[in-house]
Symmetry: C2
Subunit: 434 residues, 2 copies
């Protein structure tokens, strides 16, 4: 069979990696796909020194790719959600299949894009949008298709996980590690997307849709960053047998779906608690399969390219299939999506780690315990440290059982109103993942 | 669309689980697949108390299913590789697609079965044959299709992993834990398949084929069981920073492919070293994606059913596709398989843990070191314990760098010939998996 012709839009890290992998592994890929994949055109304003494109035609206008009648599949790797959206919609309009690594684009404009793709009978594939080289979209969408999925929990931002791993292993403060991560190229000059959980929320939004069969609803995701975490909290968590991870959690409950990204204590003996450095992992709990975990590199030139090219092979195989027998974009048939609501964070449930800075008085613990118990919050354990600072304040660390966030907000307000408590209460959610 | 009609052959643990999952999650599965899946007939000699089959017709003759003109897909869950082979070949002959969980059948007769399936244009799907509920066949065959895969390493027998986990955590001897595993139903009355590595070798044979694009060659797999492991070795490994796992390793080298199942020391900080109890995990190292790991329940009623039903959904989607655009059975097109040879164990390479029972003399270490060095074997570390027994023998533990098995066999023969060394040298292979 003749090779399939594809066009790469964007020749940055992932674009360069995709070109290189397609070239280096051309024979191996053709042995699998049954035909070759030929890059017919590249759309890029600048060359990539890590990618020798040889005689492949390059255009500065990415829309040339979407309009090139020779090209069957457009690979969108420019990032962002404005021009990328126009490009993808134009490619679809021209009857081309699309492969993208763009999590923001899918999380924010996916519903619109998939509707248009269905109308035109083309595929939009996005494995590389979540967790880089880990084929987790495929695992959930196809590999677990027998299951009612209960929850998904993921370490899906490598920068954040690198920072938390360094804080724990070396007792370093957040700001220090962030500076190093920036020097190493793990974190952007403006690290907001990574450390505030926005990037993770994009990915979690996608995972929740394919796990539960709901439309993409990025605007309803709750995000809380890791910037306020102290080395002390990391150490106390460790002493209690936990690790702190920046976790994305999507959980199905009877009242609705929880969709939240925040620092989270996880028991240290869970496999996912031992995922360190820039690595990613996604854990899925489902009614038949039980718990599964998918681990690997969440970013980088070639891991992400691995997923882009796997999508290409899938699309090549599906070129001749009739659209209604394809794997649906969001795992469930478009007319069978559920309107189960996303819960606001106040209605989400979790266990909590609380650090209360209390005056070194007898009776403070009794007051704290009474506030919690009056609201039906059970205490699992209490750890009181020696007074460390000149201010005579003693950190009191509590682990609670599961309650709603609303109930905990109320309790924290009452704790902060106590005369013997100084400053804000540090609150970190706890997930046992069992 | 009308539901697809399937027949289940065998109503044991996996057959019962498959029926139950198809029934309980019928709506969720149909929302994904776009049509229902109806069990039109069951072939079983006895009822399964955990599975209420209601009005579904049951026949005592499984060949009725393969011959039933109403049935599109035959699900083979009877196990074994004699009747199961005949059944699957008959179903294929009758133009039916097949889903099976039978690792022995695929590992031993897969080449014949796939050839016949190709000739008849039908699919034989076997996700459930390896690592139960973990969609690892799909991950390697489709999710990593961009990659040249370097090696695969897996904990792919839950019984063996349960035994080794208990030995480590509680310092219990092998025989004790085996008896408990049998009582818990994790191990068969005849545990040979599990503890001697035959079951793992079946699965590893399948993983190696789809990773490297080679025909199935179970007869060339090297297997070594865990029955000779002592609590002392487990403890020494721990003291050196390692865990002992019953690992299946398939590695591509220039000279050929290593295909081996044996007890293996793995550095304790590797994620796979922390997979405990009956859980399974498969690690894949590939040129673009780097290292990925897939973890979950490796056996059991519903985890295995999860994979059987996922295969069903895939086959339902592929009913109308033309065969040449399907995912090839062994990941690579049948006419593009490689004849890269499987290496005999003597030509495989690994690092080694050696336990030498030596007389408590000065100069023994010098003799041992000289035997190793004469054969180009570098020592990474040596640990000498106090004499523990009345016999005055001192265990000397060595970790070596990587050498061929042949070279190590030769060294061990020389060590055992020393006057100051008593009894056989305990040898366990070491893999760093990085």
């Amino acid at each position: 069979m003749k090779p399939v012709k594809v066009g790469i839009c964007g020749l940055g890290t992932v674009g360069g990696g995709t070109y290189n992998v397609l070239k280096r592994n051309a024979e191996e890929i053709a042995r699998r796909a049954g035909r070759g994949i030929e890059v017919a055109q590249i759309g890029a304003r600048r060359a990539n020194p890590l990618c020798a494109t040889g005689t492949t035609p390059v255009t500065a206008d990415i829309f040339d790719i979407a309009n090139n009648p020779e090209i069957d599949i457009v690979i969108e790797l420019i990032g962002g959600d404005t021009v990328a959206r126009e490009l993808v919609l134009k490619a679809i309009e021209n009857g081309k299949h699309v492969v993208t690594a763009n999590k923001a684009l899918i999380a924010v404009h996916g519903n619109e894009i998939f509707a248009k793709a269905r109308a035109k009978g083309v595929i939009v594939a996005f494995e590389a949008a979540v967790a880089g080289g880990i084929p987790v979209i495929k695992a959930i969408r196809e590999g677990l298709s027998a299951n009612r999925i209960n929850w998904v929990a993921g370490i899906i931002n490598g920068t954040g996980n690198f920072i938390l791993s360094e804080m724990r292993e070396k007792g370093r403060p957040f700001a220090d590690v962030l500076t190093e991560a920036q020097a190493l190229g793990y974190a952007e000059a403006d690290p907001t997307f990574d450390v505030e959980g926005i990037d993770a929320a994009h990915k979690l939004t996608i995972l929740a849709s394919i796990a539960f069969g709901i439309p993409l609803q990025f605007d309803k995701a709750y995000t809380e960053g890791i910037t306020r975490l102290t080395s002390a909290d990391v150490g106390y968590a460790e002493a209690l047998g936990y690790r702190i991870k920046h976790l994305g959690v999507a959980r199905r409950t009877e009242r609705g779906i929880e969709l939240r990204v925040h620092p989270t204590l996880i028991p240290a003996d869970r496999l996912i608690a031992n995922v360190n450095g820039v690595m990613n992992a996604v854990m899925v709990n489902a009614d038949a399969a039980g718990s599964t975990l998918f681990y690997g590199a969440g970013a980088g030139m070639e891991p992400t390219a691995s997923s882009v090219v796997a999508d290409l092979v899938d699309v090549v195989r599906a070129l001749t299939t009739d659209p209604q027998n394809r794997v649906p974009h969001l795992a469930f048939q478009a007319d069978a999506l559920s309107d189960h609501p996303i819960l606001p964070i106040s209605e989400c449930e979790s266990a909590y780690y609380l650090r209360v800075q209390a005056k070194d008085h007898p009776g403070v613990l009794a007051q704290v315990a009474s506030i919690l118990s009056a609201r039906g919050i059970n205490i699992e354990s209490v750890m009181q440290k020696e007074a460390e600072e000149h201010d005579g304040l003693v950190p009191m660390i509590l682990l609670t059982h599961r309650v709603t966030e609303q109930c905990m907000n109320d309790a924290i307000a009452a704790l902060e109103a106590l005369n013997d408590v100084a400053g804000p209460v540090m609150r970190i959610r706890v997930e046992h993942l069992n």
